[in-house]
């Protein structure tokens, strides 16, 4: 039986992603923190469609997004450009979203990632939050959020 993902699931996924790409020597893991430290200057998201519909968001501070890009692209923090952030944070959302999708009912499809720098307010209408993970990485805010669509395919509220 498939159930909705939980914060603990997100912790496991984040740990795998960080240890594979962002914290190779184990010295700078993503550390879960209370939600009040949440800061979202940049958000990357992927959408899931099919037997389950919704979105997986990776939101973080501007500095965290540049740290992700610098780590994944092997460049200096000060050399990170906007397109570097879009590429790296988008791939991070793709990997985390794909692993969240593996916990959801099949069959479903994953969209290409979308990255935006404005707030998420109003960008994901008709959704309810399933779970989220607030954390800090290198003293900067990183949050993973799973949103489930509350509308049916015809667009009516479920």
């Amino acid at each position: 039986m498939t159930t909705n993902p939980t914060e603990d699931d997100l912790k496991v996924i984040a740990e795998q992603v960080w240890s594979s790409y962002l914290d190779l020597d184990g010295s700078s893991p993503l550390v879960p923190v209370p939600a009040e430290k949440h800061q979202a200057d940049v958000t990357a998201s992927v959408s899931v469609t099919g037997a389950w519909r919704g979105h997986v968001l990776v939101s973080c501070s501007d500095a965290a997004s540049k740290n992700v890009a610098a780590a994944l692209l092997g460049i200096e923090f000060d050399d990170v450009a906007e397109e570097d952030v879009a590429d790296a944070l988008g791939e991070l959302a793709n990997i985390i979203g794909g692993n969240v999708k593996s916990l959801l009912p099949e069959p479903s499809a994953l969209s290409l990632p979308h990255v935006h720098v404005e707030g998420t307010q109003g960008r994901y209408p008709h959704v309810t939050e399933v779970c989220h993970l607030d954390g800090t990485w290198m003293d900067e805010s990183v949050t993973v959020t799973v949103l489930e669509s509350t509308t049916d395919l015809a667009g009516a509220s479920a």
């Binding site: 590429d87 790296a88 990997i95 794909g98 999708k101 290409l112």
Partner: protein, 133 residues
């Protein structure tokens, strides 16, 4: 060995490129399946370039996705020698079966460690066993 790294993320191409480059493989990058097919057409099918021995292929990409690329390569007899490894976040069993049935030789799910990639290459006989750290 000439290796194609096909992924719409520049960051992921760099990660994969570092892994295979340390094995001594030469790398050609492509941002999606269509770019990869364009390279193969220009350099191999219509040219006299080296046929890549290996392609590491993402699934979700714009223009031509990884599954379409695998299918296109398998439909071309002159590219029969290419080993195709999917490297993707798609982890549904049905998707894995679909990729393998379409002609992919191996399947790696993101996130992966360098050793996971190297172990799969060893299984395919492309690197000696025990190369992974």
């Amino acid at each position: 060995m000439l290796t194609m790294v096909i992924d719409d993320s520049r960051a992921m191409r760099l990660i994969l490129k570092r892994i295979v480059a340390q094995l001594g493989f030469d790398v050609v990058e492509a941002g999606n399946g269509q770019e990869a097919m364009d390279y193969l057409t220009a350099n191999v099918l219509d040219g006299e370039g080296e046929i890549p021995g290996l392609a590491l292929v993402d699934w979700n990409m714009p223009e031509m996705n990884g599954l379409e690329f695998v299918t296109a390569v398998r439909a071309e007899p002159r590219l029969r020698g290419m080993t195709l490894m999917m490297v993707t976040t798609e982890s549904e069993q049905s998707q894995i079966v679909r990729a393998l049935a379409s002609g992919a030789h191996e399947y790696v799910i993101k996130p992966f460690t360098p050793d996971a990639i190297i172990d799969k290459l060893a299984l395919l006989g492309l690197v000696p066993n025990g190369v992974a750290a």
